[in-house]
Amino acid sequence: MKDILKIFKELVKSWPVVQRIARYNNDQTYRENYLGDFWHFADPALQIGIMILMFAVRNGSDNGNPHATGLAGYIAWIALGMVTYFFMQAAMQKSAKSIQSQINMLSRMKFSLSAIPMTEIITELRRYFVMLGMAFFAILFMNVKPSIYWLQFFYYFFAMMIFLYALSLVTSTITVLVPDFYNAYTAVLRVGMWVSGVIIPVDSPKFPLLLSNILKLNPLYYIIQGFRETLLENPVWFWHNITANLLFWGIVIILLTVGAHIHMRFRNRFMDFV
């Protein structure tokens, strides 16, 4: 408990620095390339485009997806899911590696180590918002009107950030201690899209119920589904499914407690491990 408080205090204290570094990272990444920022968005846009082409067009009229109707509906449904997933995947992957790759540089500086994974997450936000803007463009084609339910976006956004940070505390520490973990983690993240209901709806009637329910435990699914409910589907407030909410926050609290503890316990030794 003390650890969590301490970490959040550090986070608040280094918040301005985190933001500045995130902006700096974004400006630097593709500086050498002629097209610069274009590459930030080209890769995910290509992937989403392909997925829409192959899945949305093919499955558009299918009744396998209880959440989307028609081609436009399916495109919006897929695009929103993929934008969210890509952001989470990139943030999770980079934040897991963050401490390991930057400790050499940061060990000579007075900068809270707990803020480093957050820096990576914040760095990814720029791409996320631009991609989200594109997804909104797709949503416009549907007959969706802004409503009060859209305010839930902030709730899910907050939930997503907390979840990503809690997870990054755990993964970044483990990556330093056991480098093999990172390989396994990236491999899992790469296939994670298929079990998080991004492209194939996990509650399709074609799955046995137990399988759907297992897939629904995934916190990534909770977030992705949350954004879809907020922006696309029949208006529902996020508290309609108490169990799912409690489960998600239970997982987040466990991750946060464990993450804060192991981060604090090992951070004085990170230098010895790299």
């Binding site: 650890d3 000579r108 500086m109 007075k110 108490i242």
Partner: protein, 426 residues
């Protein structure tokens, strides 16, 4: 002399490293239970000193005497294994090539480092030209740092730190790499720090530099402070030691080093406690016991275990979450869970799961496999009683004319038992 503000206070500070051979041993060494057989090395074994504002403290000692480790702790980069290190003010450490990203240009590195030290973009813009000028890099500032010579790197590092405005500045051998002119300039600059009331620690092997800069010297000797005092007292002693040491034969020197290194391996906190107790006894036996009680916490390693409250909390949350998972998996209602908590487990029985699938209309249960509308071997079909060609065409979803063409029929009359061909429409 007026007593100046204490900026750094070290109280029985120790630092231990694990001499693990493999990564996995390092991880094990962290857990006391596993890490029994892994050797330790005490780089700093119980060091106490105070530093004041406006002081320039030179740290000397042979290689591996714990200078850098001590200064890293002063900078707050690493934490002591035991003892307290109290730091009042911001710190900045200057070491050769430290904290640079080799792929980025000098300018980008300045920006990044400044950002990490908490400067805003405006402040950086304002200082950028001064930093570049001080670093003497000229056009090289826009080249990637990997192409720099070690002298250029240290110049850049020094220039960045000079403008970082810290209360405590630590210079770890960074002065000895540049050319004499630059070194001179850096030292002038460092003296200005002193006038501004900053505390400066610096490590150097050059006695001349030391005499020029420091007014107090700490002599580190294999993890201990051998001497701490004004430069006029310590430097002659150190010189005498070096002369003596250099006169040793190779074997003697190795034996000497080995003896001290061995002491650093076998050192324990209990040992330090005993030493301190003896010292207190000699100083003033009447208060020794009291002092010892007060200092008790200095001789124990900080506990890193999870607090009891956190542990209980974590266990409770985990149990609740697992329970919720089961509830979610089995689609149970709150009322059901409250009435039959055991169902959270027993409902995983295959028969119950089958029932669940049935209730929710999932595959394998309520939807029997769709029976084909007509049975045909390949594409021939035997007409049954009372069927018309139109009826068959509708069932097979083929137009009547297509069937007639395929069978070369003149009219739509079909007889029971007659075999007709159903063409495949492409």
């Amino acid at each position: 002399m007026v007593e100046k503000k204490v900026t750094v206070a070290a109280n029985h500070v120790t630092k231990r490293f694990d001499l693990a051979e493999r990564q996995s041993d390092k991880v094990k060494a962290v857990f006391k239970f596993w890490g029994k057989g892994i050797p330790n090395f005490w780089a700093v074994k119980g060091v106490s000193f105070e530093a004041h504002a406006g002081e320039t403290i030179g740290v000397i000692g042979t290689n591996g005497s714990g200078k850098s480790t001590l200064l890293e702790m002063v900078a707050g980069l690493t934490q002591p294994t035991s003892g307290q290190m109290t730091i009042n003010g911001s710190t900045s450490i200057i070491a050769i090539g430290a904290g640079m990203r080799p792929k980025l240009t000098g300018r980008a590195n300045i920006r990044l480092k400044a950002l990490m030290q908490g400067m805003t973009e405006k402040e950086i813009e304002a200082k950028m030209d001064d930093i570049i000028e001080f670093s003497e890099l000229g056009d090289f500032i826009d080249q990637p740092v990997k192409s720099y010579s070690s002298g250029m790197k240290s110049k850049l590092g020094f220039a960045i730190s000079v403008y970082s405005d810290a209360d405590i500045v630590i210079i770890d051998e960074a002065l000895s790499v540049g050319d004499p002119t630059f070194t001179q300039k850096s030292m002038e600059r460092t003296k200005r720090f002193k006038e501004e009331g900053k505390t400066i620690f610096f490590v150097s092997h050059s006695a001349a530099q030391m005499r020029q800069m420091a007014d107090r010297v700490i002599w580190m000797h294999y993890g201990d402070i051998r001497m701490d005092g004004p430069i006029d007292e310590v430097m002659p002693e150190y010189d005498r030691f070096l002369k003596h040491f250099n006169r040793f034969s190779e074997n003697e020197r190795l034996a000497y080093q080995k003896r001290y290194k061995e002491a650093q391996k076998t050192f324990t906190l209990g040992h330090l406690k005993q030493l301190e107790r003896n010292r207190q006894m000699l100083l003033d036996p009447s208060t020794a016991l009291k002092r010892q009680k007060e200092d008790e916490h200095s001789f124990t390693e900080g506990s890193e275990k999870m607090g009891w409250f956190t542990r209980v909390f974590l266990i409770v949350i985990t149990i609740l979450t697992v329970g919720l998972m089961n509830k979610q998996l089995l689609n149970m209602s709150w009322a059901n869970v409250a009435a039959h908590p055991t169902h959270l487990i027993t409902n995983f029985a295959p028969s119950k799961l089958a029932q669940l699938n049935q209730r929710h209309g999932r595959i394998g249960t309520t939807n029997p496999a769709e029976t084909p509308v007509y049975s045909a071997t390949q594409n021939t079909y035997t007409v049954k009683d009372g069927e018309t060609l139109v009826g068959i065409a509708e069932k097979a979803n083929i137009s009547v004319t297509a069937i007639m063409e395929a069978n070369q029929m003149m009219d739509q009359v079909v007889n029971p038992g007659q075999e007709i061909i159903l063409p495949v429409e492409r």
